[in-house]
């Protein structure tokens, strides 16, 4: 459910567009940020009320775009390693294996303490500094084992 802050954010968002429906992507993003990284049915129903659009169309949008996680909670840190071509050429496979070893989970899983989720993703537009990954909103580039170990030590 939207907090007071989220409602304010949504009001500002609505000013960007000539119709309400165009705000659906931003509204889903706000809901996901509020809802500990994922979107629930209740969120989508609320968005459908606020934006005056059918709930199934909110759902259609939410499931089309891969960054929305519908009913799919992730850990506190969502680690997404790029597995596309430039990163692969520069050793992405090795980075992914190292992550799996250190976190003791497989790609696609979350650690039992819900701290880390490990995923692979398609190109993140950072191919000149491959291999790279994104942790929550931040990019980490030119990765090697040492950098990863240091970073994991810093993430509390």
């Amino acid at each position: 459910m939207f907090s007071e802050n989220a409602r304010k954010e949504l009001e500002a968002i609505l000013k960007k567009y000539p119709n309400k429906r165009s705000a659906v992507m931003d509204a889903l993003r706000v809901a996901q940020n509020e809802g500990a990284g994922h979107i629930t049915k209740a969120d989508m129903e609320e968005i459908s009320r606020v934006l005056e659009m059918p709930a199934n169309e909110v759902h259609a949008a939410a499931t089309f775009y891969t960054m929305y996680r519908v009913n799919k909670p992730v850990g506190k840190y969502h680690i997404q390693v790029c597995a596309n071509i430039s990163c692969s050429l520069m050793g992405a496979d090795h980075i992914i294996k190292h992550m799996e070893n250190v976190l003791r989970i497989k790609t696609g899983e979350t650690t039992p303490d819900s701290k880390y989720t490990l995923s692979t993703v398609e190109c993140l537009g950072s191919c000149g500094t491959a291999p790279m990954m994104q942790v929550n909103d931040d990019y980490y580039e030119n990765l090697d084992e040492k950098k990863i170990d240091e970073l994991l030590g810093r993430l509390k």
Partner: protein, 420 residues
């Protein structure tokens, strides 16, 4: 060549408006609002600028299709979706020189008579989104955005629309669907966006790099621009180099720089001494690969088209002799399959099928006849898809199979990789 697009890249606080103005920024806008919109469009036509988003369409011509009727609202959309694997130039401009893009967008809006402009930026670019928003706010504060810009009577509002993880949003009509709050599936053309685009109103969609060329053309003239690089696709070009080179990164060079010059001169050669170049993807993964015999090909729209490939987004991906071509083809095809929007059957069903066959060949489970199966699947997809994504998948894969068929066959026959 004097840098135009990356001239501020890497300078301290290059993203701040004071520094942009100190470096000569917003002079193009000052000159532009003194011109008639029609003269501006003619100027861009004369410069020979062609779109940097992939298709290479004449920018001035695209603008000229917008109806002149001042009572019809019009839109400008900047395509900052940057999803083509290997590409990272638009992010470079946005992170380091957001005002260059904003100035280009204000001039473009003035030329086409748009009073609202959207920047469609991919959702993962959180840093860039924040940078852009701060820069937009700065531009409002200085009077470059908002009402009566620089006393010209022209009004413009600029907004950011964030994507959320879908490569197809880079296709211009899917991008419009996405802003309107729908699933991003391409629209039927015609009608073209110039007549019925965003909210069914006349709309220009241009790439970040295209728009960032505009201020300097207005300031220095069409002739100056048209004399840089290749005569039929002139201007500066940002090449995004990744893979097995010593110095990967962004290189702003005259359009038409050869592959050899770029890799062996500007990028310092191959990453590992003693390893030979095996293949180069010249324009993002949709572009069929080139082999060492093509090293002297100029990287411009027409020269690459003549080689059966394309300049695309200008993403140059370099592979040395240790690269497994089956694995690379698998990664590239998997990407297209993952990003297929599902609207048309040949792409929705065909690209996952290609991916499955490639996966089993890569992992030593290929069957005799699998190479031929790939080829016949390609024939069934190509030319039958609703948008260029499906065709791109086929063209890329054909490039791999045509040039490295023996590697695919080796994987099938010996159940292991030929090179690694």
């Amino acid at each position: 060549m004097e840098k135009v697009l990356l001239k501020n890249y890497g300078k301290p606080d290059s993203h701040k408006i004071e520094n942009y103005i100190l470096s000569g920024g917003y002079k193009g806008l000052e000159a532009a609002v003194k011109l008639k919109p029609d003269s501006l469009i003619q100027l861009i036509k004369d410069s020979g600028l062609r779109g940097r988003g992939g298709a290479g369409f004449s920018t001035g011509l695209k603008w000229s299709f917008i109806p002149k009727d001042p009572t019809i609202p019009k839109f400008l959309c900047c395509n900052a979706d940057e999803g083509e694997p290997g590409t990272f130039k638009d992010r470079g401009i946005i992170d380091h020189d957001p005002h260059l893009l904003i100035e280009g967008m204000i001039i473009t809006s003035y030329a086409i008579g748009a009073s609202n402009a959207y920047i469609y930026i991919r959702g993962e670019f959180v840093f860039g989104t924040n940078r852009l928003q701060v820069a937009i706010d700065e531009a409002y504060a200085k009077g470059y955005l908002g009402k009566n810009i620089m006393g010209s009577g022209f009004n413009l509002d600029m907004y950011i629309h964030r994507g959320f993880g879908a490569y197809i949003c880079g296709e211009e009509t899917a991008l419009l669907e996405s802003i309107e709050g729908y699933r991003a599936q391409p629209r039927k053309k015609p009608p073209f966006p110039a007549l019925a685009g965003l909210y069914a109103k006349p709309t220009v969609i241009n790439n970040v790099e295209t728009l960032s060329c505009i201020p300097s053309i207005v300031e220095k003239g069409a002739e100056w621009f048209s004399k840089i690089g290749a005569p039929k696709s002139p201007g500066p070009k940002i090449y995004c180099v990744s893979g097995h080179v010593k110095k990967p990164g962004l290189y702003e060079l005259p359009m038409g720089t050869t592959v050899r010059d770029l890799i062996f001169n500007h990028c310092g050669g191959m990453l590992h001494e003693g390893r030979a170049l095996k293949a180069v993807i010249p324009g993002g993964v949709s572009a069929p690969l080139l082999t060492p015999k093509d090293l002297d090909t100029p990287l411009d729209f027409d020269s690459l088209a003549a080689k059966g490939s394309m300049l695309g987004s200008g993403a140059v991906i370099v592979m040395d002799q240790t690269t497994c071509m089956v694995k690379s083809a698998h990664i590239v095809t998997r990407f297209f399959s993952h990003e297929s929007c599902g609207k048309c059957t040949p792409c929705r069903d065909g690209t996952p099928w290609l991916t499955r066959v490639l996966g089993r060949i890569e992992h030593g489970e290929g069957k005799p006849g699998d190479v031929e199966l790939l080829e016949s699947l390609c024939t069934n997809i190509f030319g039958r898809t609703f948008c260029p994504l499906g065709d791109g998948a086929v063209m890329a894969l054909r490039g791999f199979v045509k040039n490295f068929r023996d590697e695919f066959q080796f994987h099938i026959d010996y159940k292991r990789c030929m090179v690694s």
